[in-house]
């Protein structure tokens, strides 16, 4: 029966994984299955090329001595060793040096495409140190927002990555030259791998970009992802990846014209394919225009580089970029207001697309009323089993709730409370209690992460004078990537008698 429990538990698997498994034959090379064959082939070739001599000098009896072999996912022939160069899809990789437990690479990145590097670990070896089985790879560092989760429970914990001398967890998205030092010292020193008795064996590169991926966002409308960094003059620069999702079959189509601007932080310029974008006026306001109408076959995804004025954005601060976006200019129904919260994180260059939209170009509405359906599910709030729960998914948005008053209408009248949000990057759930106008107000936050988005959920509960309670879920903002994040989002709910929620400006 225990296996049945396991089988049953798999029924609650994260939908992202299921979605991922729906894809047929990915373009990505199959790592585990293909690895044995390719690495074996590579080993043979390497031996023929005299790498055996190198192996002798590496003392194969030491399980953490590292030889590296490029295999599996290579896009060109494997390098012949140190001081060789490999052409890869998005640039070149130069094998600069190999140390006791380090490997130094120079990556010349020539595009903004995403690029993941994987390390493969072999699990078992024969007495001569020849790999006999492979346990698959671990994402070592990646532009993927999932990287930290992927590294969790993995054997890559003892591996340090230095990119241009700084400890990092991801390859910067921007073009440029990067020195990458992969340091296995901690792994070796810790005698890591007791569960696996593993040995570092093949090092190989897997890279893939947006054009290789099935788009996984499922929301209709704009999809924008950002990466951030600095331009050559130290100004904050974001790379904006814009696509337009037109249906739910996870495909993008391009757009002809995209008008956008950032209304709350001044943009210095926007670069597209090396040139500054022009501006046009719409409704008395100035917008940058990305015009692809004359392009013969515009790429599905465009990369724009947003350069903000110096000191407009500061590292380590949360910012919210409010970006009105029009598609094709005149189509009212395609107007989108996009909000983005960005936290500059020192050790990550990837900011998840923390974007939502709504069908209005109005500024944050002063008053919104959300009716609550009368059909309520019987879901228990894990934090308070006395409450019946209802999901307020429909009110999710990324507006700034700060300083607004939330009115909650119920059969007993209206409750309200002033929202004071303290957005932090703490991964801990905690409760805060405020008392305002006789209303006790609690909030707790959770952070959720998925492949394409990282969301901060703020739950708040209002306890009225007559003892009636409501839970609401408000999706506030994006969050930095944190380890050990909850996978399952708790549905926050309201009791049945609640008729609606209204948000108003504070007077």
């Amino acid at each position: 029966m225990k296996a049945e429990q396991l089988y049953e538990a798999l029924g609650g698997v994260d939908s992202r994984f299921l979605f991922e498994s729906e894809k047929k034959r990915s373009k990505k090379p199959f790592i585990v299955g293909g690895l044995c064959a390719v690495v074996a082939l590579t080993l043979v070739v390497s031996m023929l090329l005299g790498v055996a001599a190198v192996a002798r000098t590496l003392n194969l009896a030491d399980p953490f001595r590292m030889g590296f072999v490029l295999g599996a996912a290579m896009t060109s022939a494997p390098p012949k060793g140190i001081d060789s160069t490999q052409t890869i899809k998005h640039g070149t990789l130069y094998y600069k040096a190999e140390g006791e437990n380090t490997l130094t690479l120079i990556l010349e990145k020539t595009s903004f495409k995403k690029m993941d590097i994987h390390l493969a670990f072999s699990l078992n070896h024969d007495k001569r140190g020849t790999p006999t089985a492979y346990g698959g790879d671990r994402v070592l560092f990646s532009t993927s927002p999932l990287v930290r989760l992927l590294c969790e429970n993995s054997i890559s914990d003892g591996v340090t990555i230095l990119i241009n001398g700084k400890k990092r967890s991801s390859i910067p998205r921007m073009k440029g030259k990067y020195e990458i030092v992969i340091d296995f010292s901690d792994l070796a020193a810790a005698g890591y791998g007791t569960p696996y008795k593993m040995r570092l064996s093949p090092f190989y590169l897997l890279e893939y970009g947006a054009d290789d991926e099935v788009i996984e966002e499922d929301y209709l409308g704009a999809s924008i992802a950002y990466t951030h960094g600095e331009d050559e003059q130290g100004r904050p620069a974001f790379t904006m990846e814009v696509g337009k999702l037109t249906d739910r079959s996870y495909t993008y189509t391009g757009f002809e014209k995209l008008y956008f601007n950032c209304t709350n932080f001044p943009l210095e310029k926007v670069i597209y394919e090396g040139k500054a974008l022009p501006k046009e006026m719409i409704g008395g306001k100035s917008y940058y225009l990305l015009d692809l109408s004359s392009a013969q076959r515009p790429e599905i995804t465009q990369y724009l580089r947003l350069v903000f004025k110096k000191d407009a954005l500061k590292k380590g601060e949360w910012v919210r970029l409010e970006m009105p976006v029009y598609y094709n200019g005149s189509e009212e129904e395609h107007k989108r207001m996009l909000y983005l919260n960005v936290s500059n994180i020192n050790d990550s260059d990837y900011i998840s697309p923390i974007i939502d939209y709504y069908d209005s170009l109005e500024d944050v509405p002063a008053g919104i009323r959300y009716p609550v359906p009368t059909v309520l599910p019987e879901v228990k709030d894990p934090y308070n089993p006395h409450f019946k729960l209802y999901s307020f998914e429909r009110i999710k948005d990324y507006r700034n709730w700060e300083g607004r008053t939330v009115f909650v209408y119920g059969s007993g009248g209206a409750y309200y409370c002033t929202v004071t949000m303290n957005v932090t990057d703490s991964k801990e759930n905690y409760d805060q209690v405020l008392v305002h106008n006789g209303i006790t107000y609690y909030y707790r936050q959770e952070i959720s992460i998925s492949q394409r988005e990282s969301l901060l959920y703020v739950y708040f509960m209002i306890d009225g004078e007559n003892g009636r309670k409501i839970h609401c879920k408000i999706l506030l903002a994006g969050s930095p990537l944190l380890g050990d994040l909850p996978w399952n989002n708790t549905e926050m709910t309201a009791e049945a008698f609640i008729k609606g929620i209204e948000i108003r400006e504070n007077s």
Partner: protein, 185 residues
């Protein structure tokens, strides 16, 4: 019809939601159920129940992946039905095989204690799956979520059946280690 329109029908309490769901995902859900139940009649019944469950769940839920949302419902309904039939170990089809294979992942002694919350196990499994390479994870799920036979998985990923078996065997071994580390003894 596009998924979001179907979802809107559910939210609008429009019964066309069910016919549209059935039209678009009926065959898919039937395949999911059939892999578990190995009985067309029972599978059909579970598929019908799936729409009902979907009707009850939307609103409030607004699934990101409607297809998989239905797949989960179908799978769980089918599994429950199969359990109710008390034929998990004896019936035909892929499910008994899949479950038997999964039993390797559990420690020989102690096993998963009954009081362990299914939710905790689910979270642990999600963590485990997150740690796997994508293809390995997908193959694992094709087998143990969708209960697909080996040849079907092999076709999907253009692999030999033996490769699929090998990959699954290794993944199960990893899962066993993982569960042991997580304290499932």
């Amino acid at each position: 019809m596009e998924d979001y329109k179907i979802i809107e029908l559910y939210f609008a309490r429009d019964e066309r939601a069910i016919s549209e769901s059935s039209l678009k995902y009926g065959k898919y859900c039937f395949a999911v159920a059939q892999n578990i139940l190995f009985s067309p009649e029972d599978a059909e019944e579970c598929v019908n129940d799936t729409w009902l469950k979907g009707w009850q769940s939307m609103p409030p839920q607004r699934p990101s992946y409607l297809k998989l949302f239905f797949a989960k419902i179908t799978r769980n309904l089918s599994f429950n039905k199969r359990k109710a039939q008390d034929s998990v170990k004896r019936g035909a089809g892929e499910l008994p095989l899949a479950i038997e294979e999964l039993s390797e992942c559990l420690p020989a002694q102690g096993l998963v204690e009954e009081e362990v919350q299914a939710r905790a196990l689910q979270k642990a499994l999600n963590r485990f799956l997150a740690s796997l390479p994508q293809r390995e994870r997908s193959i694992f799920l094709r087998r143990y979520f969708f209960t697909e036979p080996f040849p079907a998985i092999a076709r999907r990923y253009r692999l030999k059946e033996a490769n699929v078996r090998l990959i699954l065997s290794r993944t199960r071994a990893k899962l066993k280690l993982f569960l042991e580390k997580e304290g499932y003894k």
